[in-house]
Structure formats: C-alpha cells, structure tokens
Symmetry: C2
Amino acid sequence: MSGIPGFEPVELERSYLLLNHGPTVLVGSAHAGRRNVMAAAWAMPLDFSPPKMLVVIDKSVYSRELIEASGEFTLCVPAREQAEAVVRVGTDSGRGCDKFEQAGLRALPASKIGAPLVADSLACLECKVVPEPHNQKRYDLFIGEVVAAWADPRVFSGNRWHFTDDARRSIHYVAGGTFFATGQAFSVPTGK
Amino acid sequence: MSGIPGFEPVELERSYLLLNHGPTVLVGSAHAGRRNVMAAAWAMPLDFSPPKMLVVIDKSVYSRELIEASGEFTLCVPAREQAEAVVRVGTDSGRGCDKFEQAGLRALPASKIGAPLVADSLACLECKVVPEPHNQKRYDLFIGEVVAAWADPRVFSGNRWHFTDDARRSIHYVAGGTFFATGQAFSVPTGK
C-alpha cells in the first residue's frame, strides 16, 4: 500500500472504528477528470469484515453523478478546524466549480481508487460501491466496501482515537451551521 | 397523541435531529408478551419526510426475532448516566430473561406501537419497519418509518439539543466499553 502524506494505514478490520462514534464526514468523488467533495451527516458502518459503510447521497447532488459513474467514493472525517469548509461543501454545488478550492480544502490522491482524500482530515476510508440499485434509487442509500483506511496518527493509533487538541477533534453536525465536537472519552465495565 | 411521562412530543419532520449527531441508541422491541432492549451504535437517519431511520440488527440477536415478528421497534437515545446499562444490554442476550430488569432500565409504553421506550433516556423514536427483505437478510439492515418522536425537554426543546448536565449528554460508542460523550456545541457561518 502506497503511503498518504500525514496518514498511517488502519487495518481494514478495524476501519469501522473511524466512523463508529458517528462523526460527520466529507465524501470525495471523481470521474472523467472531474472531482468533488460534499458533507454527509448520514454515514455509518454497516459491517466489520469485509468492512462496509453506508452513506446517503441525494439524487440532486453532483457527487451522486460522479459516484454512480465511477463506482467509488471516499469518506473522510474532518477536524473541528475544518468545520467552516464542511458547511461550505455541504451547501454549495460542485457543478461548474472545484469545491475543494472553493472551500479551501486540499485533495490528496487515494491509494486504491480514483476518488480524492481530504488533506488534514482526521481519517479517510477508500470505498468501492457495492451496487444495490434499489437502495440507491429508492433511498439514496449507498453501500461502500472499504478497500483502504487511513488515519492521522496524532489522533488515531493502536486502533483507538486519542483526541487532545480541540481543533483536531471530530465533529457531529446538527443543523443550521451548528455542530457538536466529539467530547470526553470515558469507559464503563464490560463485565468481561 | 397520548403523553409519555418525562417526555414531550417532537415534530415528526424534525425527528431526524434526535439522531443527526450520531449518538449510540437503545433498540426496544416486543412481540407476543416478550420484550427486549439492545444497544446499537449503527443507527442513523435515512430521510426527513416521512422521517425514516436505519439500524443494523444482527441475525443472531433476540431483538431481531421480535422486530421481524412485530414489524416495529423503538430507538432511544441514552444519557451518559445510563452508559453501564447500554454496555450491559449490548453484551447480554435477552433470550430467557428480561434485559430491562437485568440492566436496571425501566420500560415505558410507547404511544403508537407495542415496542417499549426506555425511561430516563434523552429521546425516543417509535418506528414501523419498512419491509426490505433483501436488506434485512443480506446486510442485517432495517429501515423504520418514524411514527412518533419524544424528547426530554430538559435536553431537547424548540427543535434543538441543549445539553448542560454532563450526566445527561448523549453518548457515542467506540469499542470495549469506551464511549465519547457528546461534546461542546459550536456554530460556523452558513453563508445564508
């Protein structure tokens, strides 16, 4: 697996941990020389092994065209310091412009697919669409099998998140430009 | 709509806000005089109107039988002070016991369906299964249409969350008994 600047690889079987706590994600897509990035609050793991993720991509958005044409997408976990860009790419359309540039985000080449990763995000998943035409058409619901996973080792290593800098916490979208930051970690007995 | 002690109704069209930030949920189910409750980190909104939710329910768990037999389930958002019970109902099986009692949780009757709500949770959604046999069988994925929604007005009112007491924040499961609490709220300009 080739390296990605600023990221270390995450074992595929543990890649669900990157989305298990429900952060808002950025969805990267590309096809035929065009690329795009959008925000999605509705993304989550679907399976551990092989790891699969769900994401809802509305029919009206440009990313949908690129994802359906290429059969690929990335899911990147943005940091709190990227929240303005998240709102921006969740509001504007990518038709006729480059949303990465417009929002001040930088694209990085992925390792196994053509869709771009988001530089300076906390973690990224490279996904290939598992075709389910009924779900896509009826529910705008896409399933992606994770083929590579990456995380910023300053916030995720040894298969666990360890946030220290508030600017580099993951975020959870609510509505109207409002988010929650991922808060305090705590543990309870598991009885095992 | 009949009242639920400790809760106020949430408009159906805004009920997605209860799960938009990705909290871990408790899934309530009942059929033929049996009831159960389990934990699910993999739940999220699927649509605004009519509001629909997704939840992953493994084939092996007892709740699955009750949900498939009844066509109903509830999704309740537990508070941090309920985290030990969340881990407990996420670990033990409900076959041959009452998991509410075992975990020290109290069930409340729902308003429109037979599945129980979880008392002292932050919010609850009453859902009717939208039958999608392929998704259920192949991906353990259930779609529920929200038919009633409730929230504790001390933490959610006027269509927004307002956490103040740390014991009454929502929680986000990671793994191995570890959670993140929902953290600080913040807003960024939306450009509108």
